[in-house]
């Protein structure tokens, strides 16, 4: 075979040699295409697999690790969830890129037999001062709304951050959560000689051909036309597919089912056969097509959306077909399960590919070299004395609240239907989204977190913080953190400094998850996130779910009552490294990520959990980007209907004033409570060895922070709100 052919598919000379030795012959064009996608980083994880094995798989709840998603068991329910990236397609065509990202992650959930109940999105863009970044953000939000609203799954939470490193390579990570009775779960497997392989859903076209090998597994270079590789989403078909699939699964006739996402038929046939230790034989002429004259390899590689492959009990094909037909969908027997472990693809009866399923799914594992990047040493050194303290802290606070990363994302989440399903107990805008489980008294809390600036300055600690903060957010909503899905976005792993970041972040996730006893049950790796200007910040987005045992004990972040006492759990340190303050006020990305003491973290989290469970707490809010001052402001203004002010008069920390107000020390939570609960909370904190301090009182129509008799902050709530609420929309409307 000509070198250009396999190189154009992203395969190296060594990989080609290996394919020839596996097949003991030259591959056919269809076979080489199949190997190229299955061995790509997107499907086969050749560069990350050895490190991913280190992630812990057990925790407080029984875990489920499936082929395409994972989850936990809570009583007789399975909660299945996963987060996945759709970065490169979104950078090329934001609306469809984001929309199909949502579609794909939803299919991973309902093909497990679970009804999807919530979506979250973790998004990163370059600064909104650039018009293309504004176009990207509007397009991505539009795509998420277009798809998510139509399929009727509430988009309940997520995060959006802005940084120069994402100019040229935005990130769109979508997370879906589903719920099933635990014995109704299905796997993505084909087995049982003679059972039918059915193609269900939309027809196959030429859209998205080579999407995962071309788009997801290489860097962007300027001026390349990649639009034909982006798929087009049809949420209406997806909605019908959800209902038809869940109805069909309830018959018990479907033994296994898998989404045809990345690499379409190639992935679904080879991975279902491999997972079931069986073979599959299909005839491409039987595949429903929407375009004439498609080449066999195009049919195998197409990433047309809203399609799935199912393994159906022999003799039950018609019954299954009837259900899909009712919903206006294709359901065609395209082949059968064989017992020779071979994926055999025929076209008009001629064999065009014949490969052992395991050979396709066991991509080679590469030992990657890793080297600490040069920037680490110079950036980690921050001389705090070289930074002048600001004269007007009010101005600084207003500027931070109005910065796109900290401003409220109301403009975004109001465009998403976040209530459909009537399970959304805590509306977007608090630390975590809360979704009740009907027919029980329990609820799921969910969040996504990652401060990529911390990961850039210190990958290991940054990733630890991402896990700790996600858990802290859940705890603040009254939940017990239960399990993680990780979406690992990095640059080109073939470059040792990028791989060093990846390795560090994995170590951090492993460390924090083991310490907090939280398993990683599903995830996704997205490498090659680079533009000609360089790589993105390492961004290991952490999606975490937790369980609230009693929905009446759900907690939100905003102050509830005048005269409530405000308590700070944790310690304020003189830490300004990597802060939003340094970036927004001084344009500095410098220093080290804040310290993280996982023992202290546990003490604080246990205290919050217990206090909420005892019904002692009015509000609980994590202290993160923007520090204590921003967190206090959010407590005051994030319930627009009933804003409550605060006076802070006791901050017994001997620090620079800017570090006190805007430093981002970890493991801090602000809670408020009635006077009658104060002593009990103090006892719980003492028992858990959590640093505890009453810092002020709720009330009034302004936020005042007084330190050693000096009034550092004094601002009317309306003023804080105006800055926080309207700045994002204003910035997006610039021309």
């Amino acid at each position: 075979m000509k070198t250009e052919i396999y190189k154009s598919l992203g395969l190296t000379d060594e990989e080609y040699k290996k394919i020839v030795s596996v097949l003991k012959r030259e591959p056919t064009p269809t076979e080489i295409a199949m190997f190229s996608v299955e061995w790509s980083e997107h499907c086969g994880y050749p560069r990350s697999r050895s490190l991913l094995k280190l992630l812990p798989k057990t925790g407080k709840y029984q875990t489920l690790i499936g082929e395409d998603s994972g989850g936990i068991i809570v009583d007789d329910l399975a909660i299945v969830f996963k987060m996945e990236s759709h970065n490169h397609p979104s950078q090329v065509e934001p609306k469809q890129g984001a929309a199909t990202g949502i579609g794909g992650i939803i299919r991973d959930i309902f093909t497990a037999g679970a009804r999807p109940v919530a979506l979250l999105d973790s998004l990163r863009f370059g600064p909104l001062t650039k018009s293309y970044n504004r176009y990207l953000m509007k397009g991505v939000v539009d795509g998420i709304a277009f798809y998510g609203n139509c399929v009727g799954i509430p988009t309940v939470g997520g995060e959006i951050y802005f940084d120069e490193s994402y100019t040229g390579n935005c990130l769109v990570n979508a997370m879906c959560i589903g719920v099933a009775k635990k014995d109704a779960l299905v796997r993505a497997r084909a087995y049982g000689l003679g059972n039918a392989i059915m193609y269900v859903g939309a027809s196959t076209g030429r859209d998205g051909i080579g999407g995962c090998s071309v788009l997801a597994s290489r860097e962007f270079s300027e001026g390349e036309e990649k639009r034909p590789s982006v798929q087009i989403g049809d949420p209406f078909t997806e909605k019908c597919l959800i209902e038809a699939t869940l109805e069909a699964l309830a018959t018990g006739h479907i033994l296994g089912i898998k989404d045809m996402g990345a690499a379409g038929l190639t992935c679904s046939t080879s991975e279902m056969a491999s997972a079931g230790n069986a073979g599959i034989e299909i005839e491409l002429q039987l595949v429903p097509k929407r375009e004439a004259g498609m080449e066999p390899w195009e049919v195998m590689m197409s990433e047309s959306q809203e399609r799935m492959l199912a393994c159906v009990k022999e003799g039950k094909e018609d019954e299954v077909k009837l259900i899909f037909t009712k919903w206006g969908l294709n359901a065609v027997v395209v082949g059968r399960v064989s017992d020779d472990g071979i994926v055999r693809i025929k076209d008009k009866g001629n064999i065009i590919a014949e490969i052992e399923a395991h050979a396709l799914t066991q991509a080679p594992i590469y030992e990657m070299s890793s080297k600490e990047p040069d920037y680490i040493n110079s950036l980690n050194h921050l001389d705090i004395n070289s930074i002048a303290e600001p004269k007007d802290y009010n101005k600084v606070l207003l500027k931070l609240l109005g910065s796109p990363s900290l401003a409220t994302k109301e403009w975004v989440y109001e465009q998403y239907d976040h209530m459909v399903g009537t399970n959304t107990i805590a509306l977007p805008g608090s630390d975590a989204a809360v979704i009740r489980l009907k027919e029980t008294n329990k609820a799921i809390a969910a969040t996504t977190d990652c401060n990529s600036r911390y990961c850039y300055l210190n990958p290991k600690r940054g990733a630890e913080i991402a896990v700790a903060e996600a858990a802290r957010n859940l705890v603040c909503s009254g939940a017990e953190p239960a399990a993680v899905t990780d979406c690992l976005n990095f640059g080109n792993p073939e470059k040792p400094d990028r791989f060093w970041q990846f390795k560090g972040c994995i170590e951090g996730i492993v460390n924090a998850c083991i310490s907090l006893h939280i398993p990683v049950v599903s995830g996704n790796v997205s490498f090659y996130n680079e533009s000609p200007k360089g790589p993105i910040y390492p961004t290991p987005a952490i999606g975490m779910i937790g369980i609230i045992d009693d929905i009446d004990k759900t907690c939100t972040q905003y102050f509830k009552k005048e005269k409530d006492i405000i308590i700070l759990l944790g310690i304020c340190k003189e830490e300004l490294g990597g802060s939003e303050y340094l970036k927004e006020i001084y344009g500095l990305i410098k220093g080290n990520a804040p310290e993280l003491d996982l023992e202290l973290e546990k003490s604080v989290q246990c205290t919050v959990k217990e206090a909420i469970k005892e019904g002692l707490v009015s509000s609980a809010h994590d202290c993160s980007e923007g520090g204590l001052a921003v967190a206090l402001a959010e407590c005051c203004i994030s319930n627009r209907g009933k804003m409550i002010g605060a006076t802070i008069y006791n901050l017994p920390f001997n620090l620079r004033k800017d570090a006190l107000l805007f430093g981002e020390s970890q493991s801090r939570v602000i809670i408020s409570c009635g006077k009658e609960s104060f002593d009990k909370i103090a006892d719980i904190a003492k028992k858990n060895k959590a640093p505890f301090c009453a810092i002020g009182e709720c009330g009034g129509n302004d936020l005042k922070v007084v330190n050693n008799g000096e009034e550092l902050i004094s601002l009317l709530l309306e003023k804080l709100y105006a800055e926080w609420a309207h700045s994002l929309e204003k910035k997006l409307q610039e021309r």
Partner: protein
Amino acid sequence: MKFGVVVFPGSNCDRDCYYVIKDILRKPVSYIWHKETDLNGFDCVILPGGFSHGDYLRAGAIARFSPVMNTIADFADKGGVVIGICNGFQILLEAGLLPGAMLRNKGLHFICRYEYIKVENSDTPFTGIYKMGQILRMPIAHNDGNYYLDDEGVADLEKNKQVVFRYLSNPNGSVNNIAGIVNKKGNILGMMPHPERSSETALGSKDGLYIFESMVKWLENKR
């Protein structure tokens, strides 16, 4: 007394309506597939929200051709009670069972949030429990909720007291702040806000439940 929830391909609030009737209201309810042509035994039919047929053409424009729609027209003719919520309202407009049309929201975005609406007519099968002028808190979630009707038509609606709900602050550009209307006979209601999403305090408001309770009361009195 029996409720039916119509399911069009693409309906996505069908399960939410079903849940409210069955688990909150505790009344008999079943789904009605859009190809059904027999509504015998039903006292009330709910057209739920969602994106019937993807709303790829105009919201509700395809669903109105579903076989069930002719049957619903007959059902209403004979005095059956019909409520269309969000996409259900849009379908009723497209089917000509209610006057007017929906335009894209004035801000050109989908909007999902709580709004306040005012009860303008408490003498309908849907609002008997409310007081005249009562303010209700209910969520909206739509792309095309900008109700339009020509001046003459609106004057007619107002004169006949067909405007049942009005937004306090107009979120979508609707003429006369209209959030919900009934037909002349008063037995078909179309509204954009979602009462099924505001039928439990756990969700933030119970104000919507009284629409369903009013219907029950009205049907019971009719017997």
